[in-house]
């Protein structure tokens, strides 16, 4: 017994050395990654609900043309779940946003959560644990890959609260490369969590332990030496996290450099949405003269604002909601269905009753570009907006 205690003490004393302790932390994380790669399901504590391809419904969002996946027979207490996983087809999530919408018994309006930036993995987790709108009985749960009509959603998983579930979530994030996930100007790294605590906090806590060990171990060395050792330990900790960030930065930069291989040449149109949006912009640039005025019909105000930048110097007329328009020279319709077009007569009728005689200039999937020949009287029976 004494021998075992002495042996344990000998091993424990190795932690006096910060380099060894830091190496132990790194090794521990590596083991966690390997452990996680064996698969999360055998850890038990199954999710509250899983909707896969056989039980997911799909529908089309009428106005914008985006396709939605919805959880069939959703009806669960939001208080039981910290959030929702959405699995998408591997390799399909590179440039898209994943949007989650839900409506609960406590609130009839649709609530929205978006994973906004450079999603580079095959799944996302919507952490709704501190979202005030995530409450009551959730009756409807929808997922969309925004700005991309082709919907690669494979599975929606309703997570549960609890240590095992949190561990599984953390390991899954680490195993799937969350460390090397996307960056944004909002948050650089959300960081994988372990038992609800982020990697940063874990390393900070580890450093705290290191410092405590240093102080205790060096109690015979005097206060000055202890202070200096603490500072060195902190600097080492900073460098460890700096290394983590540098690797993340390099992997993201490599992906960027593949996208933009030449110097000072890339067009900002390359940074947006999917191929349909780019095709729309290219069509406008090719067919609409720079001094022309235009209107864009799209349900998404983001598209309108981005288009405004990319179409310049062409003038966009009219605010988003079609009020007080003056007649534009061209109209571009992008994923917008609240209108009718009589191709035989060449008459375009908008949802508010305004009509134009037009000539179709270009038509591609999800978009149409029309030259306005003249305005027509408002259609009877249609309300002014």
């Amino acid at each position: 017994m004494c021998k075992a205690a002495a042996e344990a003490s000998r091993w424990w004393s190795l932690l006096d050395r910060p380099w060894i302790a830091l190496a132990a932390v790194v090794l521990g994380w590596s083991c966690a990654v390997v452990f996680a790669s064996a698969g999360p399901t055998w850890l038990g504590a199954a999710p509250l609900a899983v909707w896969d391809e056989s039980s997911l419904g799909t529908t089309w969002k009428r106005d914008a043309g985006d396709r939605w996946a919805y959880a069939v027979h959703a009806g669960f207490a939001a208080a039981d779940s910290p959030g929702v996983w959405v699995d998408v087809e591997p390799g399909r999530a590179g440039e898209v946003q994943v949007q989650l919408r839900w409506r609960s018994s406590d609130d009839a309006t649709w609530q929205i959560a978006v994973v906004p930036h450079h999603l580079s993995r095959d799944h996302v987790f919507f952490d709704l644990s501190h979202d005030p709108s995530w409450r009551g009985i959730v009756r409807q749960l929808f997922v969309a890959i925004v700005h991309d009509a082709d919907l690669p959603v494979r599975r929606i998983v309703l997570e549960r609260y609890g240590a095992i579930a949190a561990l599984r979530r953390a390991l899954r994030e680490v195993a799937s490369g969350e460390l090397f996930g996307g960056q944004s100007t909002v948050n650089v790294l959300h960081g994988p969590t372990l038992l609800g605590v982020s990697l940063t906090l874990w390393i900070a806590a580890t450093l705290g332990v290191l410092i405590a060990i240093e102080i205790v171990a060096a109690r015979t060395a005097g206060r000055a030496i202890r202070f200096r050792r603490v500072l060195l330990a902190l600097c080492c900790g900073w460098l460890v996290l700096d290394l983590r960030f540098s690797v993340d930065l390099a992997t993201n930069a490599a992906a960027d450099w593949l996208r933009y291989p030449t110097l000072a040449e890339a067009d900002a149109v390359a940074t947006f949405g999917g191929p349909q949006f780019r095709a729309m912009v290219e069509s406008v640039r090719a067919h609409v003269p720079p001094d022309a005025s235009m209107a864009i019909l799209s349900n998404d105000p983001l598209h309108v604002i981005r288009a405004k930048y990319l179409f310049y110097p062409r003038t966009l007329v009219g605010p988003l909601r079609l009020r007080n328009w003056r007649r534009p020279d061209y109209i571009v319709i992008y994923r917008y269905s609240a209108l009718s077009y009589d191709s035989a007569k060449g008459i375009l009728t908008l949802g508010n009753g305004r009509r134009f005689r037009v000539e179709q200039v270009d038509a591609r999937p999800g978009m149409g570009l029309m030259r306005v020949l003249r305005g027509l009287p408002r259609q009877r029976g249609m309300k002014k907006p």
């Binding site: 959560a113 501190h130 979202d131 005030p132 944004s184 100007t185 909002v186 948050n187 650089v188 790294l189 959300h190 960081g191 982020s198 990697l199 940063t200 906090l201 900070a204 450093l207 005097g222 206060r223 000055a224 202070f227 200096r228 500072l231 902190l234 600097c235 900073w238 460098l239 996290l241 700096d242 983590r244 960030f245 540098s246 993340d248 930065l249 390099a250 930069a253 960027d256 450099w257 933009y260 291989p261 030449t262 110097l263 000072a264 040449e265 890339a266 067009d267 900002a268 390359a270 940074t271 983001l302 604002i305 981005r306 405004k308 930048y309 310049y312 110097p313 003038t315 966009l316 007329v317």
Partner: protein, 462 residues
């Protein structure tokens, strides 16, 4: 236009020219001792860029065309006049020290010093390489800053006619301060066309300036070893680096201007009697940078007040200082607060946030998570608040303490807006809080390094 030639022209317009303008303004400091020269080198770019913006703003408001020659000539002229006035007042008056003692020798083993230097250099090279490849891609750039710049540069005017569809640039928000858009526009005007990549170059130069500045200030106040620690810390601060490489937001630029304010206040605080450059010489620069804050972003207003607080603490705590110095410092504080109040009222009228006494716990939790549990800041905020807690007594009344006050003060208005007004949603969904705290993060790095150097020095004495 693309390739190496385009990049060279972009660097010339976006980097070299603003540095020339800044160098003219800062001539008295550049002519001073080595330590002062390094600090001035770190300030050259922000000073030059701000002066170019002001020149463009002046020309635009007068209805004159924003062309390359007018802007270039007027900015150089204004810089030369400012530099000459400062030279006459400071160098001739003996306020800038000409001689300096040797800085303390480096105690770092050579391989470690080389390793740290390589780390910093690699980050800087990386930022520049990344910036000259990627086009604008961040949301606010399109919505606000870049749209205006594209219009201003192509029209060579600020478009002051309300009937024009591109009135004031036509972005989603026309009421945001102009510096960032003017800087974008300057690059486009300078190179002769709009280039979605090259207009981002100022962000890389701001990043480089911040690293030089923190190195210079810490080297001047502490030692070259701790200066290297500061440069490593700031050059690898995750969100700061990302704002340099994903250019287009105003937050990184605001952070550099606030770093300049904090650094100049601290340097003025550390001025050591007659052998050193006079405090007034630094305060002149301090006033310039404080006034530049609201030109960058609306959040510059609380940052102005924070800077002024530090100066007020210095003035009230000085017993041996001359009446003239106190009067100068208090006048600077008064001007700052007056400008801040006017600007805050204007801002409040624009935003109209609804305040309440109810604490939004979700927002507070999100803020705490952001500061302490995510990867944006390394362990910066643990160190910052930890050092303040551990060293609270010794910080009181010291230059480092006043630096801590300047950095910590903006937390009060920021937390108030995020946790007690209807802006809490921007914190709860973590879209705004990180960028808000980015404004003070580089200055927090400065404090952390200075405080650690102080502890190290004390430990050595024992």
């Amino acid at each position: 236009m693309n390739g190496y030639g385009a990049v060279a022209l972009g660097v010339l317009v976006a980097g070299v020219f603003p540095c020339m303008v800044g160098a003219l303004c800062l001539a008295p400091w550049l002519a001073g001792r080595t330590g002062d020269r390094l600090v001035a080198a770190g300030l050259m770019y922000p000073a030059g860029a701000t002066l170019i913006s002001l020149t463009m703003l002046g020309l635009g408001l007068l209805g004159l065309p924003l062309d390359r020659r007018s802007i270039g000539a007027l900015a150089l002229l204004a810089a030369a006049v400012l530099g000459a006035v400062a030279w006459r007042a400071l160098v001739t008056g003996g306020a800038v020290a000409g001689e300096s003692p040797e800085p303390p020798p480096s105690g770092l083993p050579r391989p470690i010093a080389i390793g740290l230097g390589t780390l910093v250099a690699s980050k800087i090279v990386f930022v520049f390489f990344d910036v000259v490849r990627k086009p604008i891609e961040v949301w606010d750039a399109f919505a606000v800053w870049t749209m205006r710049a594209k219009v201003w540069s192509s029209r060579q005017s600020l478009v002051l006619d309300p009937a024009d569809p591109f009135y004031l640039g036509g972005g989603a928000r026309t009421d945001y301060p102009p510096h960032v858009s003017l800087l974008h526009a300057w690059v486009a005007i300078g190179i002769g066309e709009w280039n979605d990549v090259l207009v981002n170059l100022p962000w890389a130069f701001y990043y480089l300036s911040a690293v030089i500045l923190i190195y210079a200030v810490v080297r001047r106040a502490c030692s070259s070893d701790w200066a290297m620690v500061g440069a490593v810390g700031l050059s690898g601060l995750p969100l700061f680096v990302i704002h340099a490489t994903h250019a287009g937001y105003a937050d990184g630029i605001l952070a550099v201007h606030f770093l300049a304010v904090a650094a100049l206040g601290y340097t003025a605080d550390c001025a050591r009697g007659r052998a050193d450059t006079d405090r007034v010489a630094w305060l002149v620069l301090w006033v310039g940078f404080v006034l530049s804050l609201p030109l960058v972003k609306l959040e510059g207003v609380p940052l102005m007040v924070a800077g002024a607080l530090g100066l007020a603490a210095r003035s009230s705590g000085t017993s041996g200082g001359s009446a003239k110095r106190r009067a100068t410092a208090l006048a600077a504080v008064a001007v700052t607060v007056a400008v801040a109040v006017v600007f805050a009222l204007f801002n409040q009228a624009l935003r109209n946030y609804v305040a309440s006494t109810e604490l939004h716990v979700g927002a507070l939790r999100a803020v705490l998570l952001d500061l302490f549990a995510q990867g944006n800041w390394n362990i910066l905020w643990f160190l910052f608040w930890g050092l303040i807690a551990v060293r609270f007594r010794s910080l009181r009344g010291s230059a480092a303490g006043r630096l801590a006050l300047v950095v910590a003060a903006p937390f009060v208005p920021f937390l108030y807006v995020l946790c007690f007004t209807d802006a809490w949603r921007f914190a709860a969904n973590q879209t705004a809080d990180s960028r808000l705290f980015l404004a003070v993060a580089p200055a927090a790095v400065l404090f952390v390094v200075v405080a650690m150097a102080g502890i190290w020095r004390q430990a050595r004495r024992r």
